[in-house]
């Protein structure tokens, strides 16, 4: 019965469908801000998107969160930015997968009257309305300082440096290496992994490193998830006392590691605060107000002793937040 109905009327039904779609739906009236980040599986971006979302609900704007699904998914991010342009959002906050690669589409957005704010890993465009910076080089430098002290200036260090070709991981690694060379010449970097970028892979790599390098005394990790993997390997093989670990980012994982003295320190950005700042700038820019060009929030070094005193609200999203 249904089949015969559809069969007889298939042409008019199709035309009706097309007509309906062209009429379109009722457009949203409230201001919409786009928020495009590389991935939502790292505490860094999740915390900053919490800051942005919280601020958005306070200001009464709709936040459209888009994740490229991976640090290297550049083409996906460009498509997502194109979609945001198509939706005629008021402004876009961009944490770029690669600053150079998204420049063209960001310029296109600006040409169409949509202001763009860069956050933490900004696009390399001359036409950004503002930048909220995270100093990744500084985070690497802080790790070098506390790890070098904990190692007492001697020994071998291996680096879990994170994915290659991403500004955040590259700058942290640079800061670490340079500071080690300047301040702790007695420490050698014997190995660097750019392929082990999650907890499981870091665990396996650390196990192998423990076999290979007898004089391994320290491990640098770009994120706290990698540090947790390294610590698990050290704990299982009984090397926790002998090898010191430093990390970046803050999350419940990082807090546990610090409290248990399994990492010597974590260098963090006030990411939640950055998200808030980015959103405020975006709303102001969307309303055609002037905004300051650069907003820079300093990095913090958190060690086991500081954990109890630091204001976690600015650094970490609440435990039950789901983007």
């Amino acid at each position: 019965m249904m089949k015969t109905f559809i069969q007889t009327w298939r042409a008019p039904l199709a035309l009706l469908g097309v007509a309906m779609s062209c009429v379109g739906s009722v457009g949203a009236e409230e201001l919409a801000i786009g928020y495009a980040v590389p991935s939502l599986s790292q505490s860094f971006w999740i915390s900053s998107s919490f800051g942005a979302e919280d601020e958005a609900s306070k200001e009464g704007v709709k936040l459209i969160k888009l994740s490229a699904g991976g640090d290297s998914n550049v083409a996906q991010q460009i498509s997502q930015l194109q979609s945001l342009i198509q939706r005629h959002v008021g402004a876009i906050v961009v944490g770029a997968t690669n600053g150079d690669a998204v420049r063209a589409v960001v310029d296109q957005a600006v040409r169409q009257g949509i202001p763009v704010i860069g956050i933490s890993s900004p696009p390399n465009s001359q036409h950004l309305a503002s930048i909220v910076t995270a100093d990744h080089y500084d985070m690497g430098r802080m790790q070098a300082e506390c790890l070098g002290e904990a190692m007492q200036g001697q020994g071998d260090v291996a680096m879990l440096a994170g994915p290659a070709g991403q500004a955040w991981s590259d700058l942290r690694a640079q800061g670490f290496r340079q500071t080690l060379k300047d301040k702790f010449p007695g420490i050698n970097v014997v190995a660097e992994s750019r392929l082990a970028d999650n907890r499981n892979a870091s665990l396996n790599t650390t196990e192998d490193w423990l076999q290979r390098f007898a004089n391994l005394k320290g491990i640098y990790s770009a994120t706290e998830d990698m540090a947790a993997g390294a610590v698990a390997a050290l704990r299982a093989s009984g090397h926790l006392e002998q090898v010191k670990v430093s990390t970046s980012n803050f999350s419940p994982t990082a807090r546990e590691l610090l409290v248990n003295n399994e990492v010597v320190c974590s260098s963090v950005q006030q990411v939640v605060e950055q998200g808030r700042a980015a959103l405020r700038l975006a709303v102001a820019a969307a309303n055609k107000q002037t905004v300051e060009k650069v907003v820079s929030l300093p990095a913090l070094k958190i060690s086991a002793q500081d954990v109890a005193t630091v204001n976690l609200e600015q650094v970490m999203a609440p435990a039950n937040y789901v983007p």
């Binding site: 999740i46 992994s193 999650n198 490193w209 290979r212 994982t253 789901v322 983007p323």
Partner: protein
């Protein structure tokens, strides 16, 4: 006639030796050229890491034999870990792991039902499941990795010992033995070979072909659940990106071991050989302290060699007749 039979059995023996020879060759090369490879600790590490891959590959092998494929293993394992870590604090470790493993088996069951009974193509179904399960795991965990309290009972599966042997290795041996038993000595398992060779012919011959396929996916779900439980225990965390490449790794293991992707053939020995090769290779590239570029190039070269070497004698046979005329 007798020469023909001798030739055939020689080739069969050669190919069986060939399958075991390759991991032996890789082992010897590693012992010779890779620093610190041949130590008890390192070999234990290799076997422990390889066990997880081996158990999951047993599941993939069952699916490949029956003519299907499964891309969703990585996400099933991730969802298992998230469920387990969420439930562990309140309901105890054992129950949490049991629930997590049930989730993975359910995923396998869903795959099997959609593929065998709704006759959807395996490729699209498991690809879709990959995304659905990953999204679910992300939703449950809020995107971030969750930590399990490092209690000894939680970590037992991954780091514990049974009579001095690490638990993952014991479980891997049991898994391989059960796969071998299933494939050789049970009617259901032997039916998989028939169904994988030609589904329609199997149906016409009266085999319960659809049920066979469903069973293969459920069994694979069980293997995947076991592998996931060991992995979760070893890493001590539940996260959506626990082991995203697991499906590809298991397919690589099976393919290197010689199991064809269009079904109908396979054995537990082949899975073991493939898993050993990959595990040793992963260990070797880190011990050699190669940069990531050379790590990948070396892996590609070794995989190519491992697959081409058994082919050499057939390729030579196939091409000499071009030059010699009608050699037989």
């Amino acid at each position: 006639m007798t020469t023909f039979i001798k030739q055939r059995s020689a080739i069969a023996l050669g190919s069986r030796i060939g399958v075991i020879a390759i991991p032996l060759v890789v082992f010897i090369v590693c012992v010779l050229f890779v620093p610190r490879f041949l130590s008890v600790d390192n070999l234990q590490n290799v076997l422990r890491v390889g066990s997880i891959l081996l158990i999951a590959a047993c599941g993939q092998a069952a699916i490949l034999i029956v003519g299907g494929i499964d891309f969703s293993m990585g996400s099933a394992v991730a969802l298992l870990s998230v469920v387990t870590v969420i439930l562990a604090p309140e309901h105890g470790v054992a129950l949490a792991f049991a629930c997590g493993m049930c989730v993975a088996v359910l995923a396998g069951l869903c795959n099997g039902l959609l593929i065998a009974y709704l006759k959807l193509p395996a490729f699209l179904v498991t690809l879709g499941m990959l995304m659905v399960l990953h999204g679910l795991a992300s939703l449950l965990s809020g995107g971030m990795p969750l930590d399990a309290a490092p209690s000894p009972s939680f970590l037992w599966l991954g780091s514990g010992h049974v009579a001095g042997i690490p638990v993952p290795i014991v479980l891997a041996v049991l898994a391989v033995l059960s796969l071998h038993f299933l494939l050789r000595y049970t009617v259901a398992g032997r039916g998989w070979f028939l169904v994988g060779t030609n589904f329609n012919a199997a149906v016409n011959a009266g085999l319960p072909a659809r049920r066979s396929v469903l069973l293969a996916y459920v069994v694979a779900g069980l293997f995947c659940a076991l592998a996931g439980a060991i992995l979760t225990s070893r890493v001590g965390s539940g996260q959506p990106n626990l082991y995203p490449d697991l499906a590809f790794a298991t397919i690589a293991v099976c393919a290197i071991g010689g199991i064809p992707l269009n079904g109908g053939r396979g054995s537990a020995v082949q899975v073991v050989c493939g898993a050993l090769i990959i595990a040793m290779l992963n260990n070797a590239v880190v011990l050699l302290n190669l940069t990531s570029a050379w790590q990948q190039l070396l892996m590609a070269a070794v995989i190519a060699a491992a697959v081409l070497l058994p082919q050499l004698h057939t390729v030579r046979r196939r091409y000499t007749h071009l030059f010699k005329g009608n050699a037989q």
